[in-house]
């Protein structure tokens, strides 16, 4: 291959983008398309997997056209994807049997309660490193099998295939039914130590093995494209948050990053062995390079950060674009005593309270929309503080700088606030699209476009840095207020 570029597909929650990267890991061109979010009932969130596939078919050629290159100049392609979102499709027709159930969807709450009481529940959770919640794939797949007429029969006969988004796209692109270890580690069906589907976990959730894809390394050749860019090798697939860990070159145990998009996800590389959390973090696979041992991570997942800004824009209509939240927040000097805890679908890490719902507290007639805008941004800061505290307690190490990336990092007020509440420097790398970069790095590494991890590390440069600049007493008082606000979200939804 004489390829001079690597491309990646970032199949995210709100959009699908294709980015062309050069040998220095710099962005050459990008094309992006949003897909529809369907909310058919309260708590339900669905995507149309066919629409997402059509978007892939559009953005990839357009990104190449914008870069002025053709398929012969592509060394490899990598995929990063929204995690846990569940698709089942017909093996012969290639048509999805139902809308994809998105990771934020809470329709499985009753099912999850029931499963939590079933024998073997403890063992299943220990084996996969995840708590039983609506967030993960296993319950969603079980729900589809239970609620789509005739599906269980077809599944047992092997007529339908299951996958998270990367499997769906790999299958459409190459015809192979595959997944990677990072995505498999979010299903609750995989054994974290053997990295294979576990028969007892499959039994527990009632999943016929015939529907499952084969688990592969994250960086390694999955196949050759038959369509879109025929002949190009598909050489990586990772969950988006793991891709960002890779893109931030957190290759050594102890290195961490936090990605700020729809939700925010702090991942800490813990080396080649899984570490169990005592403080509400998830144990997950960070990445696996073919022929090498898997690298594990501890994860602090925050469900609602950028989507709170989105809600301020679309739900309340107070701003017309996301970045205006900063403009509005700067019209005031502080939050005026107001706090927003966005427990829209319960609280994820470190609380894992599915019965919690959002609150705005501290309202007085003094509060303006400027104070609310500030409270929106501060919610992201304090939620990060909670997962960083959990991470420090679990790892016994104190985080010394926070590497950040994602759409919200263009918000300077938020980045400064983060440094202030964490009391560590916050650093943004030269490529904010780190999810895409990570998928490109993994693919390029697999085909020898980049020789080794050290070479990738040398591409990392600091683009911006924010230093803590507040009085410790302020930090203490505000954190205390935040924690009291969080308590007020608990126990809102009554047990069934």
């Amino acid at each position: 291959m004489n390829g001079r570029y690597v491309i990646s597909i970032d199949q995210g929650t709100t959009s699908t983008r294709c980015i062309v990267f050069d040998h220095r890991g710099q962005l050459v061109s990008v094309d992006q398309r949003e897909h529809a979010q369907h909310f058919p009932r309260p708590g339900w969130v669905e995507h149309d997997a066919m629409e997402i596939w059509r978007n892939v078919e559009k953005v990839v050629p357009r990104a190449l056209t914008r870069a002025g290159i053709d398929a012969s100049q592509i060394a490899a392609i990598g995929i990063a994807n929204q995690r846990e979102t569940t698709v089942v499709w017909d093996r012969r027709t290639g048509v999805p049997v139902a809308p994809a159930i998105v990771w934020q969807d809470t329709r499985t709450d009753a099912l999850v309660e029931e499963l939590a009481r079933a024998p073997g529940a403890e063992e299943v959770q220990r084996r996969c490193g995840l708590p039983l919640t609506t967030y993960f794939t296993g319950p969603k797949l079980r729900w589809l099998l239970d609620n789509t007429p005739g599906l269980r029969k077809r599944a047992e006969r092997g007529d339908v295939l299951f996958g998270t988004m990367e499997s769906w796209l790999i299958w459409k692109l190459t015809g192979e039914h595959l997944t990677d270890v990072t995505n498999a580690s979010r299903t609750m069906l995989m054994d974290l130590s053997s990295l294979s589907w576990h028969p007892d976990s499959l039994d527990f959730f009632g999943i016929p093995p015939a529907v499952l894809p084969e688990i592969r390394s994250s960086a390694g050749v999955f196949g050759t494209l038959r369509t879109v860019l025929p002949g190009v090798r598909l050489a990586a697939a990772l969950g988006d948050q793991q891709a960002a860990l890779f893109g931030q070159t957190c290759f050594t145990a102890g290195e961490a990053k936090c990605t700020y998009g729809t939700g925010s996800f702090l991942l800490l590389n813990t080396g080649t062995g899984p570490v169990r959390s005592q403080h509400g973090l998830l144990t997950t696979v960070g990445y696996r390079i073919e022929g090498e041992p898997a690298v594990y991570a501890l994860e602090g997942s925050i469900a609602i950060t950028g989507s709170l800004v989105q809600w301020f824009r679309d739900g309340l209509g107070i701003i017309s674009t996301a970045p205006e939240i900063e403009t509005l927040a700067r019209t005031v000097d502080d939050n005026g005593g107001c706090y927003i805890v966005p427990a829209f679908s319960g609280l994820f890490a470190p609380h894992w309270r599915s019965e919690a719902r959002g609150v705005i507290v501290g309202l007085t007639s003094y509060i303006t929309k400027g104070h609310l805008a500030r409270a929106v941004l501060e919610a992201t800061g304090w939620q990060t503080r909670e997962v960083v505290d959990a991470m420090n307690a679990d790892s016994g190490l104190m985080l010394r700088t926070l590497k950040v990336d994602g759409g919200m990092t263009s918000d300077n007020l938020l980045m400064q606030f983060l440094a202030d509440v964490l009391d560590v420097p916050v650093v943004r790398p030269m490529v904010a699209e780190t999810v895409s970069l990570g998928a490109a790095y993994a693919a390029g590494l697999a085909v020898g476009y980049w020789p080794d991890l050290e070479g990738l590390r040398r591409n990392w440069h600091r683009a911006a840095q924010w230093l803590p600049n507040v009085d410790p007493q302020w930090r203490k008082t505000e954190y205390d207020n935040w924690q009291r606000a969080v308590e007020r979200t608990f126990d809102w939804i009554q047990p069934h």
Binding site: V28, P323, S410, N412, A463
Partner: protein, 251 residues
């Protein structure tokens, strides 16, 4: 006197029509009311939609006046929006040029730094977003002045021997910038430091900001003391890429 531009007159009529009553209008209703062929009306409405003067309802497909019209009096592009939309192009400019990148807009006859990317050498640097720079002594500022219709030049403080501190000389330099499509400052604010900048354009070519690099004069300029042509190309390409994303033609 030049004649009327028909499509502008029609666009104005469509805006008045939409402003006239309550409720949204469909394309056919607009075309009928103005006695225009549907295709013509569609072209004009699409353009008005692109610039934000009309909005389309997602479910009914009907049109109404857009939010941008109501905010005509305030700044056209929010500075935080400008940063957000240019961040993907400022990073590669820093990586390719090896120099620090800044994006600026004019604010009360000063240059407001709205985005700053460090020089990619991982040395200690301080973020100076929010800083104000003198327009006449910086590449960013001169580019912004060159396309500023409300032509004040600001306070022409001589920072160095090379600062363009006379209105006549500066005005000539601004004409040259418009001619070339980019500008530079060579030790005009700080001895030993040079910069290159180009305009960022929104819809219709309106200049909404400038993007540029700055660094040691011996790196930014060649042996003849002129800005290096490869760096000029990088800066102009970045400006064009941001402009394209903003819907401007990016010259």
């Amino acid at each position: 006197m030049p004649g009327q531009v028909q499509s502008i007159a029609r666009a104005a009529a469509i805006l008045r029509l939409l402003a006239g009553g309550s409720g949204r209008l469909g394309l056919l209703e607009i075309a009928r009311a103005l006695d225009l062929p549907k295709g013509t009306a569609h072209g004009i409405v699409r353009t008005l939609h692109d610039v934000g003067f009309v909005e389309q309802d997602k479910t009914s497909g009907k049109y109404q006046l857009g939010a941008a019209l109501l905010h005509l009096g305030t700044s056209y592009l929010d500075v935080n929006e400008l940063r957000s939309r240019s961040i993907n192009w400022a990073d590669p400019l820093a990586a390719r040029s090896g120099e620090a990148v800044r994006i600026g807009t004019l604010l009360d006859s000063k240059v407001l730094v709205v985005h700053h990317v460090f020089r990619p050498d991982d040395t200690l640097q301080t973020l100076d977003v929010g800083a104000l720079l003198p327009p006449h002594a910086t590449a960013l500022g001169k580019v912004l002045l060159a396309y500023n219709a409300r032509g004040g030049l600001g306070d022409l403080v001589p920072y160095t021997r090379r600062t363009l501190a006379s209105p006549r000389v500066l005005t000539r330099a601004l004409a040259a910038i418009r001619e070339a499509g980019w500008g530079s400052d060579i030790e005009e604010m700080t001895v030993g430091v040079a910069g290159i900048a180009a305009p960022i354009r929104g819809y219709g070519g309106l200049v909404v900001g400038a993007i540029g690099i700055s660094g040691p004069v011996e790196r930014v300029c060649d042996a003849h003391g002129q800005p290096r042509i490869t760096l000029v190309t990088h800066v102009r390409e970045a400006a064009r890429a941001v402009s394209r994303d903003l819907g401007g033609r990016g010259q």
